[in-house]
Subunit: 309 residues, 2 copies
Amino acid sequence: MAARALDGTATAAVIRQELVPRVAACVDRHGASPGLGVVLAGHDPASEIYVRHKLKAAAEIGIRAELTRVSADGHVDDVLAVVAQLNQRDDIHGILVQSPLPPGMGDDAETRVIDAIDPAKDVDGFTPSNVGLLVQNRKGLVACTPAGVMELLSRSAIDVKGMRAVVIGRSDIVGKPMALLLLHRHATVTICHSRTRDLAAVAREADLLVAAIGRPAFVTPAFVRPGATVIDVGINSVTDPGLVRSWFPADSPRAAAFEKRGALTVGDVHPAVADVAGALTPVPGGVGPLTIAMLLSNTVRAAETRLSR
Amino acid sequence: MAARALDGTATAAVIRQELVPRVAACVDRHGASPGLGVVLAGHDPASEIYVRHKLKAAAEIGIRAELTRVSADGHVDDVLAVVAQLNQRDDIHGILVQSPLPPGMGDDAETRVIDAIDPAKDVDGFTPSNVGLLVQNRKGLVACTPAGVMELLSRSAIDVKGMRAVVIGRSDIVGKPMALLLLHRHATVTICHSRTRDLAAVAREADLLVAAIGRPAFVTPAFVRPGATVIDVGINSVTDPGLVRSWFPADSPRAAAFEKRGALTVGDVHPAVADVAGALTPVPGGVGPLTIAMLLSNTVRAAETRLSR
């Protein structure tokens, strides 16, 4: 592997440690620790894991995190009622509704729930007004994954000013906010997606390539200019042994991990990109840990803002 | 001139005519014509002209447009008070505060005033929540100039799907919303700006090039791939005879217009681009008329939404 590994786990640990004295200051000055309300509807296995991680990470730095469950066969109004209560409570500074909501709640359930969250408590940065503030480069709560990527870049001394940046993926929660954050740091930004023609050639223009499409090993060396920095936002669970064998040598730790568990978490970037890129985020241990760190950071910031009013 | 001229004046006239029966329907069904409240602080000469044009265009299609003036040496609170009144009134469906506000009102005056406008009446599409809805590709009120460009493209049978689009300029009111609208219509979008390296080379990648930087004749033929569609958003008033002579032959109508008035309105695109581009918006008569047409369209839409509640 030629590429420098950008260590998200270590960077996330630093960010979390920096939050500890700020949490303590909330208690000292205002007699209140930051409070995070997490809402989980149903029992999606991946969601259960994510929520457990978030609650644990919050507790570790002194954030009071509490979980409210809604039945899997509940109505979207049940979720909205929980959100309304959390909006009202003075001891709750951040609200997070774990996605996805159960399909039975309807196609527009996620949108209705997000729109119901008080923007000052919207620690996921998903409400329209926070998204609009991001576009306008004003202070607001920014989506955790792209915010985490920016932290990783700056703390790795990678200055994006003047760089050609290519973002593959145009989701509301990663691709679009990522592009805007890079733009505000003076990168020249291109957003690609499923309709982009000759995607590999466009990606090769990038000094900084962000892969956020949710397709395992989609970004091959043909997409990467030698020496480019590659950020892998993908978190894909793969269960096909043939695919795993095609990516990892039989005697590698990754192949062994797959043998043991029957599933492997891989990114959107093909392992062979490590031989071409100048710097690369691993999966796991790259962007993932930063997402949770930024959730905590947003919660502390929301608490500081509210408590100091 | 080789390039096909994209006639904004004609397209704007069509859009305005399409609004006439919708205004009539508001009156027939709800007994109320759409109402637009325009706020003008001070006496900036360009603002006076813009506001007069907007009021006239609104009146022509049956929108009740009224102007409230605030003194040039007034306080931002005076503007905020007018906005608060317009927010409250049932007969006002759209609110527009002409920019710029007098410098004496402070650096944050524009932001404070925009934030105070009811998003449902924000016919300029400048409030954070409308901007956020745009990012999320949801129904909201969209900034008039980029919305007008999209109308001109689609009504000129130019389908941007799969095109490489390059937007030069990253303003909140043109560049960024323009990029988002093109992205949602499935273009591969690059946003360039003052920090972009080798800007001409990046621009030459474009099948569709949008110039929105506010620098007269900045985009020369070196920026344009032969056959590309070029959208000129610039509206620059030039008073330097040497510049005008360098762009237009002495016997041209444009040179004659300059001789007569001592000033000439030119775009961000150099006249010689007409020999390279496949299609081009003229200035004047390109994007400008569409901006006002979309303001009227937004006002009618805001009225329809409110009246049919």
